[in-house]
Each structure stands twice: as structure tokens, then as C-alpha cells.
């Protein structure tokens, strides 16, 4: 839920995708590298007619197109098979390079988790993208400060991630990831910025549900029936 405002802003204002032509070579790519945010992706794909409600109802069950982690092999509208953290930005370099080689102007948007930036491969990719000046590559970091076991600053603090990315040759902008006006403005800033650019979005895990907000115990755990009822009452 920390990522949902960012995803809504992206699909609503920037991403050029069409459920009637999901495999178009000219479509923008959205690479959800933190694959456990799959419910947010499936929800937006339903809004954009890539998925039906019945697909969402099958989430995580045998044979469902909605796999536990987003998977391009299973789901229309998904451009990457995630689940193992640290790989999405590298994949995005590949799709951004392909656009340049083919003279196509589609954009590649990659969403990273903040905990995910503990993976070394992420920094291999940050370094490679700026070296190759991939101006059609955009990163959004969901800085929700929580990872699987605990808060990021307890597990292994990543510190001032914006400065670190900047030091790797990227343009960086920090925003409140739940301020929709700021989100939309930052995505456009990324489009207008030469070279690769990253938006560090400060977010709150479980945003909108009082007992889930900023609570690491809901990172990988679904609410029980009573909790779900309470959460829906707060949200709707």
C-alpha cells in the first residue's frame, strides 16, 4: 500500500500501455522489481482492463494468472518476472537499450523497494545506466523504511539513498509519495530530465489503515478476517 499512490500516478499520467495491444513493441515498460507489491500491480492492471476481478480473486492460488510475485510469464501487462530482489533495474537497462537500438521512444519505469537497495546488483545497475546515459530509464524508489524482518534502519540502514544514487550519476528528486500532486509533478520532472533519473518517494507502509501503518509485521502477512473488516471500514 506504500506504493499504490505512485503506481496510480504513473499509470494515470505517464505510462503508455493498452490492454487491447499488451505486447506492442512500442509500449512503455513498467518493471516492478519489488515483486511482493504484486497486489498493487494487479489492482492497477484490473483498472486498466488487463485483468478481471476473478483473476484477482485467484491471487496466490494454483493455476492463477495472479502469481504470488508479479510474473511476465503468467500475467498480461506485466513486463518482468520478479520475486528475487535486486534484479529489476538491470532488466530495465536491457529494455531501455533495446529502445535505443530500435529507435523507439518508449520509456522504461522501474520501481525499487528501499530494502532492495541493500542488494549489490542494484548498484551495478545504477552505475551501468548512468555510464551508458540511458535517458529513457526512470526509477522510483518506494522509501517505506520497512523490510521483511523489521525496519530498514534496524536490519541494515541504507541512509541517504538519494545522495547515493546521485553519486552514481543519476538526477534525483525526493517527494512525499502520498502527495498525488507531488507524485505527478515528479514523474513529469523525470521525463523532462536529461540522463537517467530517480524519484525517491517517502512513503508509509500500510498507508490508510491505522493499525497497519508503519508496522513491519504486515510486510509479508495478509490481515485476518477481523483485521480486513476493520481495514476496509477505514479505507472506504
Amino acid at each position: 500500500m506504500s506504493a499504490i499512490d505512485l503506481i496510480v500516478g504513473l499509470y494515470g499520467t505517464q505510462l503508455n500501455v493498452d490492454s487491447n495491444n499488451p505486447d506492442s513493441s512500442q509500449r512503455d515498460r513498467f518493471i516492478m522489481s519489488k515483486g511482493h507489491a504484486s497486489p498493487a500491480v494487479y489492482a492497477i492492471l484490473k483498472e486498466h482492463d488487463f485483468l478481471k476481478q476473478s483473476d484477482l480473486d485467484g491471487f496466490r492460488s494454483l493455476g492463477s494468472v495472479c502469481q504470488g510475485h508479479v510474473d511476465m510469464k503468467w500475467t498480461n501487462g506485466v513486463d518482468f518476472s520478479a520475486g528475487s530482489l535486486g534484479m529489476g533495474l538491470s532488466f530495465g537497462i536491457g529494455t531501455a537499450f533495446a529502445a535505443k537500438m530500435d529507435g523507439l521512444d518508449y520509456q522504461t519505469w522501474v520501481m525499487l523497494g528501499d530494502g532492495e537497495t541493500q542488494e549489490g546488483q542494484i548498484w551495478e545497475a545504477f552505475m551501468a545506466a548512468s555510464y551508458h546515459n540511458l535517458d529513457n530509464l526512470h526509477v522510483i524508489i518506494d522509501r517505506n523504511r520497512i523490510q521483511n524482518d523489521d525496519f530498514v534502519n534496524v536490519q541494515m540502514e541504507i541512509g541517504d539513498v538519494a545522495s547515493k544514487v546521485e553519486a552514481f550519476g543519476w538526477s534525483v528528486k525526493e517527494i512525499d509519495g502520498h502527495d498525488m500532486e507531488a507524485v505527478v509533478e515528479a514523474l513529469q520532472w523525470s521525463m523532462d530530465t536529461p540522463g537517467p533519473s530517480a524519484v525517491v518517494a517517502h512513503t508509509v507502509k500500510g498507508k490508510g489503515v491505522s493499525f497497519m501503518e508503519d508496522n513491519p509485521s504486515f510486510h509479508g502477512k495478509a490481515p485476518n478476517d477481523a483485521e480486513l473488516k476493520m481495514a476496509m471500514e477505514e479505507l472506504v
Binding site: 513493441s25 510474473d71 511476465m72 510469464k73 513486463d79 518482468f80 518476472s81 520475486g83 528475487s84 535486486g86 534484479m87 529489476g88 538491470s90 532488466f91 530495465g92 537497462i93 536491457g94 529494455t95 531501455a96 537499450f97 533495446a98 529502445a99 537500438m101 530500435d102 549489490g120 546488483q121 551495478e124 545497475a125 552505475m127 551501468a128 555510464y131 551508458h132
Partner: protein, 312 residues
């Protein structure tokens, strides 16, 4: 069998293949610093706009290949065999699992790599990649076969791993015989009804030499270059199992999980046959020249002959 003066190492054959494939605009070459060693540098020189240098960062390289493949490119990514292993999980999760087709080449495979020492001598790569669903795994025996097999990857439906060797070995094929080589089909180099010697990579020429020596003793050996260990040519294995008294497998690779294991896995369940596996027993290598090292670990013509005699 004497070494012809022509020819090169199998890594040279890989480099030549990339040039031969360059007419297809989908072909993209990716490097992680070692292009001069893997011979992808030949492509880079002529087609810099389709060559991507990613520095010493193998994990990133594999996922860049996957991203390119998702956009219809046919990426060929190479580094030392041992360093591809650093990105094993990337090959598994980022490339093969979503069904993307890119081709990984690991050069400097095996103990034959020599003086660099054990850190550079991959003896487990074939075993690793064989476990990935849908992955094609190859290890050509000379430069000509490396060229031909790599060329056949252009429209291959699966991701692949190809191990090449650093050092030159005698040519197995010539300009005519190379034309019948095919991914997934073992090449029968010599026919005999007593024993079969199935070899791979730099050990194929030693298998042929052993077969020559055995013939002078009245022992007739079939010799197979099993350049593709996955998918394995099981029809050929059945044919061999039905016609000879035993099979010797020979590889510059751990005896755990490589060619010998693949052959044993199939035949033990489908056509039980006596098999003797010659390979690197459960140990690391060290610095030395290729022949010294092969002798050190028992990868010799004599050990093949001894194993073959024991089958009769």
C-alpha cells in the same frame, strides 16, 4: 591423432560465430570486461553499436540480457565460466524462469584453463546449468564445432549455456564433417562394438587417441562427442547401451553432476549399463599447465584405456 597446425581454441570458435551471426540485427553482444578472453571482442570491434560493455558485474549482465531478450533481441553474453556462476540465480530466476531466450557463454572452463589456478577453473558449471528447467547446455570440443553450435543458437527456442576452453586442442572436425553437427545430437566420431567412450570438450581428442591405441590391442571403441549434455541425446545412448559391453564417460569437469552423471541418470533408469566416469574427482585444481593438470587429476589417454579395458 596428431594436432593439426590450423584451428584454435573453442573460445576462438565462439568469437568467429558471433561475426557470422552479425547480419541478423537482433544479435546483441554483452560483455563483463572479459571480451578479449571470451573473444566477443571480435564482434565489438566491428559492431560497437550492438555491443554493451557492463564492467565487472556479471549479475547485472545477465538481467540486461533478459531485458533485451524481452524486446526481441538475441543477446549473447559472455565471461569466464566461473564468473557466470556468480550470476547463477540471475540465470535461473531472471532469464530461464520467465522463458526468455539469451545465450550465456562461459570461457576458460575446466582444469585445462591452467596457470591462473583453481579460482578460474570452473569444474561445476555444466552441473549447475543442467539443473535449470529448459536450459540448453553445451561444451564444444574444438573451434569449428563451437562456431557451428553457436550459430545454431540464433533461432534456438531456449536459453543456453555454452562452455568454451581457453587453450587450443587438436581439431576434431574438418570443413566437411562439421556440417552434420547439430545441437542435441551426439556426434559419433568412430564406431566399434566393444566399448563406447563418450567425451566432451577438451577430452574428446584424448578419447580418440585412446580408441586408436585400443584398436591395436583388438578392442574396438565407439567414440562420441556429446557436445550437448542437455537436452541429452538419449536415442544415441540407448543405441550404444544395446551394442557395447560398457560405457566410459570423459570430461574436464567434476564427476558430480556433469556428463557422466547425465549419462548415468538416463541409462540407470532406462537401459542399465556398466558406466565408468572419468572426470575431476571431488577436488579443486591448482596452477600448472594444461597437460600437467589433466595428468594430476587422472584425465589422461591411459586412464581412458584402462577404464575401457575393464569393460570387457
Amino acid at each position: 591423432m596428431s594436432a593439426p597446425s590450423t584451428g584454435g581454441a573453442s573460445r576462438d570458435g565462439y568469437g568467429a560465430a558471433l561475426l557470422n551471426l552479425a547480419d541478423d540485427p537482433r544479435v546483441v553482444v554483452i560483455e563483463a570486461d572479459l571480451g578479449k578472453s571470451t573473444k566477443s571482442c571480435l564482434f565489438r570491434e566491428l559492431y560497437p553499436e550492438r555491443t554493451i560493455s557492463l564492467g565487472i558485474a556479471e549479475q547485472n549482465m545477465v538481467l540486461v540480457a533478459a531485458g533485451l531478450a524481452s524486446c526481441g533481441k538475441v543477446p549473447f553474453a559472455s565471461t569466464f565460466a566461473i564468473f557466470t556462476e556468480r550470476a547463477f540465480e540471475q540465470v535461473r530466476n531472471g532469464l530461464a524462469r520467465p522463458g526468455l531466450v539469451a545465450h550465456i557463454c562461459g570461457s576458460h572452463g575446466g582444469i585445462h584453463t591452467g596457470t591462473d589456478g583453481s579460482s578460474a577453473q570452473s569444474i561445476e558449471d555444466l552441473a549447475l546449468y543442467r539443473t535449470i528447467p529448459g536450459m540448453t547446455v553445451m561444451h564444444p570440443s574444438d573451434d569449428l564445432s563451437a562456431t557451428k553450435l553457436t550459430e545454431q543458437l540464433l533461432n534456438h527456442p531456449n536459453p543456453s549455456y555454452t562452455r568454451t576452453a581457453r587453450n587450443k586442442t587438436p581439431r576434431i572436425y574438418d570443413e566437411d564433417t562439421i556440417n552434420s553437427i547439430q545441437i542435441g545430437k551426439g556426434s559419433v566420431l568412430k564406431e566399434g562394438n566393444d566399448v563406447a567412450i563418450i567425451a566432451i570438450g577438451v577430452m574428446v581428442h584424448k578419447a580418440l587417441e585412446a580408441a586408436e591405441n585400443l584398436r591395436s590391442e583388438g578392442i574396438n571403441a565407439t567414440v562420441v562427442d556429446m557436445h550437448t549434455i542437455k537436452p541429452l541425446d538419449t536415442a544415441l545412448l540407448d543405441q550404444l547401451a544395446n551394442s557395447v559391453s560398457g560405457i566410459v564417460t570423459v570430461e574436464d569437469h567434476s564427476v558430480i553432476g556433469g556428463l557422466g552423471s547425465a549419462v548415468s541418470e538416463y541409462l540407470s533408469e532406462n537401459n542399465p549399463t556398466i558406466i565408468r566416469k572419468i572426470g575431476v574427482e571431488d577436488r579443486f585444481g591448482e596452477s600448472g599447465d594444461s597437460e600437467e593438470l589433466l595428468s594430476l587429476v587422472g584425465l589422461t589417454v591411459e586412464s581412458i584405456e584402462t577404464a575401457a579395458r575393464a569393460m570387457l
